[in-house]
């Protein structure tokens, strides 16, 4: 292989994969944040529903 431009060819390949890798990492982090957020909101809805149910039960009693 011609060594003249090998360094810049290497930079080109490195840059291409680095950009994709940074995107994949950002995607994974965003996924983890969304899963945590979903769990938090589900817990909030669940606690709201159970407090409403207990309030209703007290009123029935």
């Amino acid at each position: 292989m011609d060594a003249r431009n090998f360094t810049f060819m290497f930079y080109g390949f490195l840059a291409a994969w680095l950009i994709v890798l940074v995107y994949v990492i950002s995607l994974a982090r965003r996924g983890a944040r969304l899963r945590k957020e979903l769990d938090d909101v589900r817990r909030l809805v669940h606690s709201n529903q159970s407090s409403q149910t207990s309030g209703l039960e007290e009123r029935v009693r």
């Binding site: 292989m1 431009n5 810049f8 080109g12 840059a15 994709v20 995607l27």
Partner: protein, 228 residues
């Protein structure tokens, strides 16, 4: 099911890429005028085509959203555009590194390069606009309109090497030229790498679409919590 498809796409892309890299570095000869640097074309061109295919898929999905009002089309369009922007950035960065050696400059305000930069800026703006609008229907409608507008520039990017006198090389693939501009073995590797990169892009779109679905679920649960 979606996980299995993502894994299958990733494994197939990795296998194909390993074969492609072997061919690109160890089998194909250097280009007579450019030396080793020409090998950047095997990522530069497939990344550009992947981006363009993505923008046209997003255009179709945006039109489908405007005609049906189903938010699912909007979510997939946004996912496709995000992944397409990543590959357009890969295209412009690898092109810039190639240009430094062949043209002696990192950048020139040539029609092809400028229209591609404008394309990236339009769709980056699309992604930023989506973050700024909270109401899902309004966000989807404006996003669809901007996507249709942005795709006009994608056509300019695509045709600029035929319409204008450019520093950027003219079309080389035989589907555009009828053949004779590139060695068939080199052209075959461009298509193989395109297939591998399309599979990676498809896997990323599937992951991103699932995140959009989760975000919609969070939105609706929040509304439920506030309403209660």
């Amino acid at each position: 099911m979606r996980e299995k498809i993502i894994v299958a796409l990733a494994v197939a892309a990795a296998g194909l890429l390993a074969y492609d890299l072997y061919q690109i570095f160890l089998v194909l000869p250097d280009e007579a005028m450019q030396g080793a640097i020409y090998r950047i074309i095997f990522f530069h061109v497939p990344a550009a085509i992947t981006g363009m295919i993505g923008y046209f898929v997003a255009l179709t999905l945006s039109i489908l959203y405007l005609s049906s009002g189903k938010l699912r089309f909007d979510s997939v369009a946004a996912s496709v555009i995000e992944v397409s922007v990543v590959f357009s950035v890969v295209n412009i960065v690898t092109g810039s590194i190639w240009a430094r050696i062949i043209w002696g400059v990192w950048w020139t305000w040539d029609y092809r390069l400028t229209s591609q930069l404008v394309c990236i800026l339009i769709f980056a703006g699309y992604l930023m606009m989506r973050r700024a609008i909270e109401e899902p229907t309004q966000r989807a409608r404006l996003s669809a309109a901007l996507c249709i507008f942005g795709c006009i520039d994608v056509v300019i990017v695509w045709k600029s090497i035929e319409w204008f006198r450019n520093l950027h090389p003219g079309p080389v693939l035989s589907i555009r030229t009828g053949g004779g501009n590139i060695d068939p073995a080199m052209e075959r590797m461009i298509y193989f790498n395109l297939l591998a990169i399309l599979m990676i892009a498809a896997a990323l779109v599937l992951i991103r679409t699932r995140q959009e679905t989760t975000a919609r679920e969070i939105d609706s649960l929040r509304r439920l919590a506030h309403a209660a």
